[in-house]
């Protein structure tokens, strides 16, 4: 699975894309968030962290499928 990183999350992780081996331990958005928090504790300090799957905000229960475009969405600040 490839994860796109933006804004402060790109800085925290240190790159703009993260490749994660598809794994039974990360079946859905909620478990991805848990995995990220363990790997990159600085992500937990953010005001919020959303996940987008195929360009849509995704709830914790959404299943992750190989080939989906997954992105980390830290608090937005456009406008």
């Amino acid at each position: 699975m490839e994860l796109l990183l933006f804004g402060v999350t790109k800085e925290i992780v240190g790159k703009s894309k993260l490749t994660i081996t598809a794994d039974k331990s990360i079946p859905d958005v909620g478990s991805l968030k848990q995995w990220l928090a363990l790997q990159y504790p600085a992500l937990s300090a953010l005001k919020s962290l959303a996940i987008a799957v195929d360009n849509e905000y995704a709830g914790d229960g959404e299943t992750l499928k190989e080939g989906s475009e997954i992105a980390l969405i830290p608090p937005v600040s456009g406008g």
Binding site: F6, G7, K47, V76, S77, G78, G79
Partner: protein, 136 residues
């Protein structure tokens, strides 16, 4: 609908797009870079967008606005990259037969844009910089 992520916002293009023969009311909001923020002098902003998703969100917001007000034209344009004080970073415009509708719709679109669209502002003051809104 004219929905774009661009390097440089062309106000004339936005205004020209908003012309519609049955609409007597056109309203255009432009957000620009301020010279000061958080009590410090701003040297520049850098905007980053998740473009494909941002454009989808623009479209959702525009459709929500259309459901609430009689709008014949909607434009939402956001800039990315390095912006200096005075530069336009966002332009939101609508055209309607009804005057009050254009004020309400523009305010609504800006509010939604700031809430849901995946665009990030990195503010620079001299040596320091901060991702706006990132931390509590």
């Amino acid at each position: 609908m004219l929905l774009k992520i661009v390097e440089h916002i062309d106000i004339a293009e936005a205004y020209n797009y908003l012309q519609h023969p049955s609409c007597g009311a056109v309203n255009l909001f432009i957000g620009t870079v301020r010279d000061r923020s958080r009590g410090k002098e701003v040297t520049k902003l850098v905007f980053e967008a998740y473009e494909t998703m941002a454009l989808k969100e623009f479209e959702k917001i525009a459709l929500l606005a259309k459901q609430q007000w009689p709008l014949e034209r909607i434009t939402v344009i956001h800039a990315t990259g390095e912006k200096l004080p005075g530069d336009a970073v966002v332009a939101v415009g609508v055209a309607s037969p009804h005057r009050q509708a254009v004020f309400e719709a523009t305010a609504f679109i800006m509010q939604e844009l700031k809430t849901t669209v995946p665009i990030w502002k990195h503010e620079y003051y001299g040596d320091e910089s901060v991702w706006i809104n990132a931390h509590p």
